[in-house]
Amino acid sequence: MRFYSTLSISQKQIVWAWAFLALPVIFYVVIRFYPTANAFVLSFQEWNLLSDRTFVGLENYHRLFSDPVFWKVFQNTFMYLILGTPISLVLSFIIAYHLDKVRFMHGTIRALYFLPFMTSAVAMAWVWRWFYQPVPIGVFNNFLASLGFGQIQFLNSTTNALPSVLACAVWAGLGFQVIIFMAGLRAIPQSYYEAARIDGVSTWTVLTEITIPLLRPTIVFLVVFSSIGFLRIFDQVFNMTTNNPGGPLNSTKPLVLLIYDTAFNGFNMGYAAAQTVVLFTILLVVSLLQLRLLKDR
């Protein structure tokens, strides 16, 4: 205590900061960083859970980078990212933008959009899977057929399956993004819009020159979090392609599913760890890049 009282204000702050962080730091180190470090070490080892671990050097990485499936999966993962993030952001922005201007039953409509975020991914994936079926039962194809269009193979196709799965993922996450966007919209001072009204500029100009630029912090926040989300996509893919996870022909398989598969079907923990390290690196690089953008104002 005597020692404490001789500290300067900023030194006392440091003491307090670490007092606040002490327990959490222990937690993060033991519960999060240790397993992570473990995964890094494991990525240089071979282990099938049952036997002993043995060091194999870079073999797992070597094998990974020479595996065409990995590159396919890598490509898929980025497809989820570069399709999913913009599509979901644009959609949720459009919804939030208009919902913000609606008064009647506002709360109810908002709840409608948020509801999918709350329901079980397993159950919903099943429903979507059936919606996508060909004609006798599939809702979408029945609809197309009733309009006289040809059928579309949604899930049973190497080209359409990934977008189809993605649609379900976008759907599930939309409500969360809508809510955040609406909050961001609400935070823009009204007087900016009034000033623009007096200047008589078009709605489009207001949208592109005022609303969107001022919404940038919100947008970047969502970009970071939805990017992490899409790069880590798993639930929807796994549940919509249960019979052939990541199929057909690996066309929907994301990195996390590959990891899951390697770890819990192949029980090749070292190899799975190497994949995890790759995923970790991608995520960290993408997030740090985006956070940089967030800072730059």
Partner: protein, 352 residues
């Protein structure tokens, strides 16, 4: 250039009526200032003129045209907001140019116009800066520039100076005044600072609780306030108010002291209030109207404000800055009969 005329303007938010039917005519090129305490409806009136709020009742004409249902952009007005509302993500040039978005000018003409306005406001050097690189006063000028660039018939200002510190405020007051003298547009200016109102207005509109209390030139409202509210609102420090009874030839106070006054439109025995501005109530050496004990002394430099206890009331008087009286001293106060204001105690109306 345009006249603005307001007829029985009523505004209600839901069931709450906040403007109770006000009427006003603003001449072409006139500088009108709305003052009043917070919440009296100044901004609401201004925003209805601008077309930002629905009109509940009554009519607004600008340049002779009924504008009740016109979009703001069709009213030929520009508005400067209290918080500037300049876009943080645009350079000064873009902010000013924003007002020209819808204009049919050529690009080169627009740039010329922006440069011109920037020149008038003395911010040619700042055109490429972002708002966060500007000081408060400069930001305010950008907001004014954005309004000016379109050269509208009517300028609307909503407390544009209240976020500035005292020095900047004085300076901007001057610039707006000069602007008005140069371009001659009609200006409606809202403030709750009576010094601003006094120094800038051709005419002052004093509002309270959604009613207009008085409309007049600064000297009129200062020297001939229509009622107690106006008398106290205009002038700082506030006018001293001394309640008494009208005796026919003067005012009789509770403590027996009396003040002689010329005849007024009041019947004998009415409760009245005598109003005396601190500026007119001077600490004198000779015997004056009242005498009292000095409670507080506020030196202002040239003058000194003296708070004097006079029979239970505290009044503010003025003494010279050089030899101010001391706290606890007994002083004499005198005033010129021409500077005394008399009000009906019940209605608050002036008794001329």
């Amino acid at each position: 250039m345009a006249t603005v005329s307001i007829r029985n303007l009523v505004k209600a938010y839901g069931k709450v009526e906040v403007l109770h039917g006000i009427s006003l005519d603003v001449a072409d090129g006139e500088f009108v200032v709305f003052v009043g305490p917070s919440g009296c409806g100044k901004s609401t009136t201004l925003r209805m003129i601008a077309g930002l709020e629905d009109i509940t009742g009554g009519e607004i004409h600008i340049g002779g045209r009924l504008v009740n249902n016109l979009e703001p952009k069709d009213r030929d007005i520009a508005m400067v907001f209290q918080n500037y509302a300049i876009y943080p993500h645009m350079s000064v040039r873009k902010n000013i140019g924003f007002g020209l978005r819808t204009s049919k000018m050529s690009k080169a003409d627009k740039q010329k116009r922006i440069d011109e306005v920037a020149g008038i406001l003395g911010m040619t050097d700042l055109l490429e800066r972002r708002p966060n690189q500007l000081s408060g006063g400069q930001r305010q000028r950008v907001a004014i520039g954005r309004a000016m660039v379109r050269n509208p018939a009517v300028f609307l200002f909503d407390e544009p100076l209240s976020n500035l510190d005292a020095q900047l405020r004085t300076q901007m007051r001057l610039e707006i005044k000069k602007l008005h003298q140069r371009v001659g547009n009609t200006i409606i200016f809202v403030t709750h600072d009576q010094v601003e109102a006094m120094t800038m207005a051709d005419r002052i509109v004093i509002m309270k609780d959604g009613y207009i209390q008085q409309v007049g030139t600064p000297l009129e409202v200062y020297h001939r306030p229509a009622n107690i509210f106006v008398a106290q609102f205009i002038g700082a420090p506030s006018m001293n108010m001394l309640p008494g009874t009208w005796t026919g030839g003067g005012v009789q106070f509770a403590d027996g002291v009396g003040v002689k006054l010329p005849a007024r439109k009041a019947s004998e025995g009415t409760g009245v209030v005598l109003g005396l501005r601190p500026d007119d109530l001077l600490v004198t050496k000779e015997k004056g109207l009242f005498s009292g004990t000095v409670n507080i002394v506020e030196p202002l430099g040239a003058d000194t404000l003296v708070y004097v206890g006079v029979n239970g009331h505290e009044v503010i008087a003025k003494a010279s800055g050089r030899e101010p009286p001391k706290v606890g001293q007994t002083v004499e106060l005198s005033a010129d009969a021409g500077e005394m204001h008399l009000f009906d105690a019940r209605s608050g109306e002036a008794l001329p």
